[in-house]
Symmetry: D2
């Protein structure tokens, strides 16, 4: 018999438990953010942890309709009015390494660097300089730094780090990302920490696995995409979105016979 | 120039506003549920409204890995390990009229029936009986009633209606759905209100547009799908899911030449 | 045990059969178009039928990168470089009632009208006039007529109808769509048959079920989307696509406290 | 102005060209396989090349409803009856590195090995042994070898290689994959070339870029998925697919307070 195991939900005719906890109790007293934390982390958050995750989810939910996630969702809602979930899925599919996925890469980077610092007894500043050196040698980008719109500093980063520090939850993750910002400034050029870098640092300090750097962005962004799809259905005409494109391929006269 | 208008987010280099409100303030003091409410409703919730939406989102987030949404997400994570967002999208795509979408249909039904009751000055019990009569004549199902797993009553329904009544937020939506349950029992057979029917009634009473009956289910369920995908990536082997199927089509010998 | 039945493929360790036919024989002697026909129709095409389906698939495969299907696929490829199939899926999701789906609606309309003409012994011209009258009364659009780009006649329509008539395969479907064009011209205004209307008429005459009006468009368009995604990956920078949008929602000063 | 460039389709009000060729001419005389070749390769195929691509597309279109692509599509069609394209997209999303994507990895491997053989003037057998040695050292799998269902040899492989050799199109790609099969047998254990390995070898010999190892599989498989979705809509009840799963997570009694 085909079965699969799960450690998240246990649903029978008389009960539904999430990681062993009674769903009905959670419905009566917990917040949706508590549940998101529990499902991705195996325990419920403290109030200070909940505050941080709320701030991360709110800060990632939307960034205007020009973001690929919202634009693709609106395009799908424009051509296919049969299924709002199809439009939401189209938006989700634009999320990856280049859009909303830097948090995952950045968490992998932080976890590896902290591990190395521990193993080799390096101070964080030294560990950060080595990461920057390695990236320069390999000519790779450092995820979590720089932003297309916010040239100097994304104001959401200040809020996230402020909340983490006020509550005493900022740990080696936040410290390492700040050390990395200094090392990038000294060895390459000033590049501000972006929202992906900030949430990556905090999620490491809260003990989340690296893939949640992408997953919590998706969970947050779906709220924004859903609202954009609602607006597109309720307020806009189908097929209104026309994106100009110009042809620069093979000209008609240059066709070789085959 | 190609543009599109939006009423949700206004993001410039120096500010991000959600429906006119400062995103940074929301990050500091609001919950993710507040933001979901604001984006789909144009204002922030009262504490009692927030409690209800939290309960709805928690109650809809997951229902075990056998639900089509989670099963499809795990299948995609099993075959395509390159993109967690692809697996989440595959799960979202199973959500529609038959799975998670009854809330939308039920909200449409409630809104139309309340409108008719007002116009024709009908008591709610009479309006409910007419809806049941119409459904019997047209041989259509009544969305929001009956459940595959919970034969009697889904315990989540009691929690939702209990919270709505304690807080004084239960209005004509809840009253009408209860009247409909009585009319179905008297005219057809006893069929319990399911979670879709309960959330539909409450969302009507909170002033949400009908499509949110589906959209808030998607927002909630993505949290559960995301956790199932995380587990599939971290704990399971690729391509482990094999679903048995048997062929019952054209036999080899019966092929006509064409 | 969970199983599902299928009438399409029968695959064991020693054989693979498609609708009862040996897959290896098909690989040696059939065309991909033959297989598409067989899978959606239960038999292989004649040479003339194959020519028509080839023309339909070629004519629907792409219509430039501004089409929602290609634009959404390129947006996904721009943000998520981890999975080409995610980008193709994003393109597919834009296909529905408003984009690429008119063929389905048009086939439903033709089948219903031909059925009515037979039942009521109406000439096709009279049946067409009744369809136009009904659409005017109900204020609904007639699928398969009019086009955003081609104001007069889409040249692909002439090719399809030309092939259908040369080969003697044009039947009541084609005749009815032409009658409908005349009725629209006389009762509303001249509106040319578009590619969806042409393929709908021909697919009805070839005996395909109405949903293939959408499905064959998807099969064809995936070839075009795939090529656009290949080009986006091989030639373009990630996150290059920025779609301008302007905010026209709630202004900051108008926020009511709640 | 936002634009994007394309080299595939050039569509104006009076013409549609695909890579510089007149679409109407293609509709009149080419096959869908010709168009797929043209869009992914920049030229039309010879008759022998067309035969090979037809065989690859036919051989990849479906492998029974237990394949993740078909299973996910049927699950989506079972829960969401509003949009056939949503079901097709759910199927496409399961295609990746583990399902249908080995052709891409295998083409990358072949191209790199042939490049190295040329650079270092190695015979193909020696180049193959080095690839196997490297994979053993790095403990990575060799894409294109072994199959879940076909323990010995997938009969589709014989057909593909037979067609390639009869037509004289088999080149270094096919020779290298055969050398690799011998090296795997000698250095590890006998593992048959599978369909992904066969199509990868042939696509390399025809001059296609490596990503087409995945893309042409998607184009082919969408034909099969589409037929499975059609059958699910026309013949089956919604929500019929229930996949058994068993809970093996945190037991209720083991919950620590937090």
């Amino acid at each position: 018999m085909e079965t699969w195991r799960t450690a998240i939900v246990d649903a029978g005719p008389d009960h539904i438990r999430v990681r062993g906890r009674d769903l009905l109790e959670l419905m009566r007293g917990a917040t949706f953010t508590d549940l998101i934390f529990l499902m991705h982390h195996e325990r419920l958050p403290t109030p200070a942890e909940r505050r941080l995750i709320d701030a991360i989810l709110i800060g990632s939910a939307d960034h205007g309709p020009g973001a690929p996630s919202c634009a693709a969702a609106r395009l799908a809602a424009s051509g296919n009015r049969q299924s709002p979930s199809a439009a939401i899925a189209a938006g989700v599919l634009t999320i990856g390494d280049e859009h909303g996925g830097a948090g995952w890469s950045c968490m992998n980077l932080i976890v590896a660097a902290l591990e190395r610092a521990r193993r080799e007894a390096l101070p964080l500043d030294e560990a950060a300089r080595r990461v920057v050196d390695d990236a320069r040698t390999a000519r790779t980008r450092l995820p979590g730094f720089g932003h297309r719109v916010h040239a100097t500093i994304d104001p959401r980063v200040d809020v996230l780090f402020g909340l983490a520090e006020e509550s005493g939850l900022a740990g080696d993750g936040v410290r390492f990302v700040r050390a990395l910002e200094r090392a990038i400034r000294d060895l390459i050029k000033p590049l501000p920490i972006n929202i992906d870098g900030a949430l990556a640092a905090i999620l490491v300090d809260l003990g989340f696995p690296p893939m949640t750097g992408l997953l919590l962005f998706v969970v947050a962004r779906v709220a924004g995409i859903s609202a954009e799809v609602l607006e597109e259905y309720l307020r806009e005409q189908p097929m209104r979105i026309r994106i100009p494109a110009e042809y620069d391929g093979v000209p008609p006269e240059n066709i070789a016979d085959c």
